[in-house]
Symmetry: C2
Subunit: 336 residues, 2 copies
């Protein structure tokens, strides 16, 4: 029997479609060029060593002599750093000047790798770069919301294959995020606890959708996952902003994020995916009703007309089955 | 200078990204197999003539002897027709049994065609089938929301190439639609007029984003279009539910819908696209603050991590330029 499950953060329903459900193995991706089969260095790649002059800004985290992670301004930024934040209202046409920041974190000098094949140290430094840049950008009072994300693979929106993540600093809080914040605030007012914390604790207790657990983090497929293998990595310590995660938490997040991404890589044959770090709006960065977390969305299904027309999603994988599958995936021993 | 524009229906912002903007010609799709080069009849296609026995239900609109349009239950329905609508609440796990309808409208017996190549009569009969089936399904008191949509091409979610559209009848109003309804209701309370009607009239007056106009409909790219060439076809007569569109309106909608789809087909080389008919929830089907319309979304850009993490979209095409481009596209003379 199909079931509609409600995402309490967005209040939206998801159709968990048992009649058209696929077994987890049916989501294994077809063979394609392996990341490792690409050249380790591509002279035409703007993110490879030797092309640092293309940078507009740089952050170095020198641990082994040369740079390991560097940050550059996006060459084609979605937003512009200079100018005044001006609001125009002309009848129904409401607009704001597109002020903000759009930066790229180049995760490693190595061209032919990806997070599933990177070391924990590389992932940890990427997370540190996110934090350092976020802390710098929040100093600009025009910044209302930081969005941290990764696009892995073409169908996930990546145009350059050299491993990189991105950071956008927005001059507004997106309405979607406002809705989530408001749900969390109301939940706190009604129940006296943080909604995300309650979701995580419930998932830990129920166990059927858990994938992996460490001292500081839990990885699970949420009850109302909107797409196959959509999963959360949620911290145990409640803090609203990712920028307030502690160094030891970042270290452990790099371990569990890598482990989960490797389970996807080896279990589903390197699916394209996005991950985003959901962090509080700047104006509510200390709110006790909010908790940051990482959301990972493998791109193994497509958004179609129904999703566009309703805002709802049809998930053709049962979250419990997907979680059992990911738990059972053995990743090769860690040679990194 | 990039600009954030607000969609007043959803209150969400869209980044209109002039720095990374592409010229309209850059969205022309690469060459691919032409629809017409496929066989006119495919014995393995469940929608081709001769396979009618696979139907669970049928609607015939006989105009030339054999069927022109037929309606079948989706073989792998997202929702199930039988059973009671039961709500389960177990802590944070909120669910409703997946009751509803999922039907397919086979637009024509011809396998190798698509709306851009179909006759106006075929499109009109598809729209009539939508209406007839919607009127039948709304008799079921469990139905709260009808969603009418088309997926054209693989990246738009189509798995079968034989031209077809789909209809889902939901037992809940999606939260996204509730948000839109609430925005429209508040606008009506504040301003005494229908938001969608005001949007259409403003677009007609400004003209720069208009594409096509007939006696009963206007086609335009909205000010805050969330993706390149995202466009609306809005009726001039205000009525909340598509099911209340008049026969002469359906006839004219088939003309303008076909014309706009042909402009996309010839101007952008047959892009994949979705169209959805946005119609009022059943409980508000007579609301004076609502107006149905058709939303068309060519799939010429990709949703990536930023969109997932923020709910906002980055549109790399200027709506005004896209509209001028589509206005200038000459479609071949109508031989259909």
């Amino acid at each position: 029997m199909p079931e509609l499950r409600q995402n309490l953060a967005t209040r939206e329903w998801v159709i968990i479609s048992s009649e058209r459900a696929k077994r987890p193995e049916e989501f294994v991706q077809p063979s394609k060029e392996r990341v490792e089969d690409r050249p380790v260095y591509d002279p035409g790649c703007p993110f490879c060593p030797g092309n640092e002059e293309h940078e507009l800004e740089q952050l170095r985290l020198p641990t082994q002599g040369d740079w390991q992670v560097r940050v550059v301004r996006n060459k084609y930024p979605a937003l512009r750093e200079d100018g005044d934040l001006v609001r125009h209202v002309d009848g129904l046409n409401h607009s704001i000047s597109g002020i903000g920041y759009h930066e790229v974190i180049v995760e490693t000098p190595i061209h032919n790798t990806c997070p599933a094949l990177e070391s924990e140290q590389t992932i940890e430094q990427t997370l540190r770069a996110f934090q350092l840049r976020g802390l710098a950008l929040r100093e600009d009072s025009r910044v209302e919301q930081l969005v941290f994300f990764k696009n892995h693979g073409r169908t996930a929106g990546a145009s350059l294959m050299h491993p990189h993540t991105q950071l956008l600093a927005l001059p507004v809080v997106p309405y979607d995020i406002r809705t989530r914040v408001e749900s969390a605030r109301r939940y706190f007012l009604d129940w006296g606890e943080c909604l995300n914390e309650r979701i995580r604790k419930d998932e830990e207790q129920q166990g059927v959708r858990m994938i992996y657990q460490t001292d500081y983090f839990s990885a699970f497929i949420p009850f109302a996952a909107f797409s196959p293998f959509h999963l959360w990595i949620a911290p145990h310590r409640r803090v609203a902003s990712f920028l307030d995660a502690l160094p030891e938490e970042l270290r452990e997040l790099s371990i569990i994020l890598r482990q989960v991404i490797r389970k996807l890589y080896f279990g589903l044959n390197d699916p394209d995916y996005n991950y985003v770090i959901r962090s509080a709006p700047e104006s509510e960065r200390d709110a006790e009703y909010l908790q940051w977390y990482v959301s990972i969305v493998p791109r193994v299904s497509r958004m179609a007309g129904f999703e566009l027309g309703s805002g709802m999603f049809i998930n053709s994988a049962l979250p419990e089955e997907s979680a059992a599958f990911l738990r059972s995936v053995n990743v090769p021993d860690d040679e990194a």
